[in-house]
């Protein structure tokens, strides 16, 4: 029986070794391991995994191809729905999506869909599997703002439909959060991210970096002066949140965005680059999400003693279980039910500690999680010289404030139709963190794909063309 085989474990770098380098933590499957794991798949008639995948990768089909050692076929099957398999195989929260729905997971361990996707993505790249040829261009231009997961997915689908697509990126490098946010040891930049961005370009998508839409050029200028028939906004989550506690502007307090951008995009860990980064001896990272885990593990690799400070208990940590597990293996200290009340400074205005208060869990709040309540009089100090705030982000108003008629909600997120990404302005679509607030890579990709279909329908209707069959 196929499902009697236990889930094939994945090889990882020794925790004590990897805690001092930026090489990838997880080695992934080799061919034999991948084939063995693939044989565990029951090839369900009604695959629940596909329903849970925001971009609807044909999971059983590609896994069957792997089981039959037809790796190139597997790569082509995934490419129909995703051009970022090596990225998604590494950073998707499979446990709550495809793998979370796997029948095998009800009694035992689900098929390692993520690791298999990663294997296929890596195999395809290393063996020169290129995306299928694109159809003839239809001559209609679409602009995509932001080259993160949402923008790349949207651009790829539009290019496959024949549109002339240009992505405008504010930073100097394409990839968005894949470049500036997620660290090298989880997602290698030049080997994986740049290579998969390159595959999107192979579809004929052009990427112009150093363009801050809303400042360099407005959405209206793109449509009126540069002739774009539609615009997709995938500009990401934007502004870092702080706690508004005393001492937050001391030297040594940084946002996770700044810390990770310096380390990832600006390669501060690499002596060949000019970027300065300050890690000090002891780093406290405030927050419990994936970004907090990325920041704390980066700080540890840069030589600091690193601690997570989180106001709820371990059960409520929003980070993926795998990330928390990896962080613990690497010697990260976790201080749960602890909330900062003040950043303490020395006489020169540098951080010398973090005053915290102990918390206990009270009644469940709107999110269903038990909300933390302060324990009166329980203040204590944590010694540290750097504090990294990883408290989430709020949307950047640059585009909404420079585009008339583009509505935002109470939280500043762009208002967009859940199924189509249509905003309150005809011809302008949006998706990803700019709409939902901080979420995951794969949800952003899903939104990008949906919007691509809707953009196609919008343009066809406007031009009196027939509806596309290939839009999905």
């Amino acid at each position: 029986m196929a499902n009697k085989i236990p889930r094939v474990p994945v090889r990882e770098q020794e925790p004590r070794v990897r805690a001092t380098n930026f090489e990838e933590v997880c080695y992934g499957y080799d061919e034999a391991e991948a084939v063995l794991e693939a044989t565990r798949c029951l090839n369900c008639k009604k695959p629940r995994c596909v329903e849970q995948c925001p971009v609807s990768v044909k999971i059983p089909q590609f896994i069957q191809a792997v089981a039959g050692r037809r790796f190139d076929e597997a790569a082509r099957i995934i490419a129909q729905d995703s051009l970022l398999p090596s990225v998604c195989g590494r950073v998707c929260p499979q446990e709550t999506q495809c793998e979370g729905a796997c029948i095998l997971g009800m009694k035992g361990e689900p098929v390692a869909i993520g690791k298999l996707e990663r294997f296929v993505g890596d195999w395809g790249r290393e063996n020169g599997i290129r995306p299928a040829a694109v159809p003839e261009k239809n001559g209609i231009k679409v602009a995509v703002i932001g080259s993160g997961p949402a923008g790349l997915a949207c651009a790829a689908d539009l290019a496959k439909m024949g549109y002339t697509v240009k992505i405008f990126e504010a930073l100097h490098k394409a990839g968005g959060v894949l470049e500036y946010g997620i660290p090298e040891f989880r997602l290698p930049k030049s080997r994986v991210v740049a290579a998969e961005v390159e595959n999107v370009k192979r579809l004929g998508v052009e990427i112009e970096t150093d363009v801050v839409v809303g400042r360099t050029v407005t959405v209206d200028q793109l449509m009126d002066e540069e002739g774009y028939a539609a615009v997709f906004i995938g500009s990401g989550a934007g502004l870092p949140r702080f706690m508004n506690i005393p001492g937050e502007n001391l030297n040594g307090v940084v946002s996770a965005n700044e810390f990770l951008t310096r380390a990832n995009l600006m390669k501060a860990f690499d002596g060949e680059y000019d970027t300065p980064i300050y890690v000090g001896k002891r780093v406290a990272v405030v927050g419990g999400g994936n970004v907090a885990m990325d920041a704390v593990r980066t700080a540890a690799r840069l030589g600091a003693e690193a601690t997570i400070v989180y106001r709820r208990s371990e059960k409520e940590l929003p980070a993926r279980v795998e990330e928390v597990h990896h962080a613990k293996e690497e010697g990260i200290e976790f201080r749960m039910l602890t909330n900062p009340v003040e950043v303490l400074g020395d006489e020169n205005g540098w951080v010398r500690g973090l005053r915290c208060i102990r918390m206990e869990l009270g009644e469940p709040d709107a999110s269903g999680r038990r909300s933390p309540v302060e324990v009166k009089g329980s203040e204590f100090d944590i010694e540290c010289d750097v504090v990294i705030m990883a408290l989430g982000t709020s949307p950047n108003p640059l585009i909404s404030s420079s585009t008339a008629g583009l509505e935002t909600n109470r939280r500043g997120c762009l208002v967009a139709d859940e199924r189509t990404g249509a905003t309150t302005r005809p011809g302008i679509f949006a998706g990803g963190d700019a709409v939902t607030g901080a979420a995951t890579v794969i949800l952003a990709m899903g939104a990008g794909r949906q919007a691509a279909g809707a953009i196609d329908a919008y343009i066809r209707e406007k031009n009196g063309m027939e509806t596309s069959e290939s839009s999905r």
Binding site: Y180, P240, N251, P276
Partner: protein, 294 residues
């Protein structure tokens, strides 16, 4: 690549460059800034827009050598280029949005310190083009560090020069020069705009507070992305935290916490100087025996 079409040495270690960047040139307005990167391994450096030509598609920046990256910038020549040149960033100067008639009736004093003269120039020039008038004080340590005085003389109603050592113009600080204008010469100003070193802006703000003159400063905080993403440029204004890159760079001087701003500006100084020292020693054949260069 963003090509340098013109380079001019304004003073020792201060250079002016016109850089081909049509998109930036088309959208730039007084008070905004750009972020440049010399090469693929360089830092992202914010620099104030000093001038622009929409038709020819270039933007002027002025750089003073203060560290590694600015040294790299000033080592570039005509025909070379920047890997990246992005902008315009930040909000334009407030007066860009003002009613022209009101603007014409205003008595404006610009105070420019050192390399801060460069971003003052386009503002004064813009005002002159609108038919408004502005006086300008340029301050520098000594005569050799004065820049753009001829250009400024063309654009300003009155130009005053102050040098610490009296090698040109008024001997003393810009604040002393301003006091002289107001107290002795009976000048009256409705608005003061000060751009220069943080310490100069702090003391200009202190002085104008005495006189009750509204004052605007342009802050040059540390930044990474310049679009609001990193928060490195946090500044306290009126007790609230703002991001210089998206909320500024211009702020009400009387509300800015300059001491904090100066401290934050120096956040990476020790690291940078240590790296510079190590590089120098490496070049001189010294390898660190306790492994600091590892």
């Amino acid at each position: 690549m963003f090509r340098i079409v013109k380079k001019r040495e304004l003073a020792e270690n201060i250079c002016l460059m016109n850089v081909e960047a049509p998109r930036v040139a088309r959208s730039a307005r007084p008070g905004q800034f750009v972020i440049v990167r010399v090469d693929d391994r360089g830092e992202r450096i914010p620099l104030t827009v000093c001038d622009y030509n929409r038709e020819e598609g270039w933007v002027t920046i002025v750089t003073q050598v203060v560290g590694r990256s600015t040294r790299k910038i000033c080592a570039l020549n005509e025909g070379d280029g920047f890997a990246d040149f992005v902008g315009p960033l930040g909000k334009p100067s407030e007066f860009v949005y003002e009613n022209i008639d009101e603007l014409r009736s205003k008595r404006i004093l610009f105070i420019a310190g050192g390399v801060g003269t460069a971003p003052v120039y386009p503002q004064v020039k813009w005002l002159k083009e609108q038919g408004a008038h502005a006086d300008v004080i340029i301050g520098a340590k000594n005569k050799s560090l004065l820049i753009l005085t001829d250009e400024m003389r063309q654009a300003a109603e009155n130009l005053y020069i102050a040098t610490d050592d009296g090698s040109e113009g008024f001997k003393g600080l810009v604040t002393d020069c301003m006091r002289e204008l107001i107290d002795r010469q009976g000048k009256k100003y409705d608005v003061v705009v000060a751009i220069g070193p943080m310490i100069m802006m702090k003391f200009v703000a202190k002085t104008t507070l005495e006189y009750g003159i509204k004052t605007i400063v342009s802050l040059n905080s540390l930044m990474v992305d310049g679009t609001g993403m990193c928060g490195a440029c946090r500044v306290s204004v009126g007790g609230k935290t703002y991001f210089t890159c998206v909320d500024g760079p211009e702020f009400d001087a009387h509300q800015v916490d300059f001491d904090e701003a100066m401290r934050r500006q120096g956040m990476y100084k020790t690291i940078e100087s240590r790296i510079e020292k190590m590089e120098r020693e490496k070049a001189e054949g010294h390898s660190c025996r306790i492994g600091l260069d590892k």
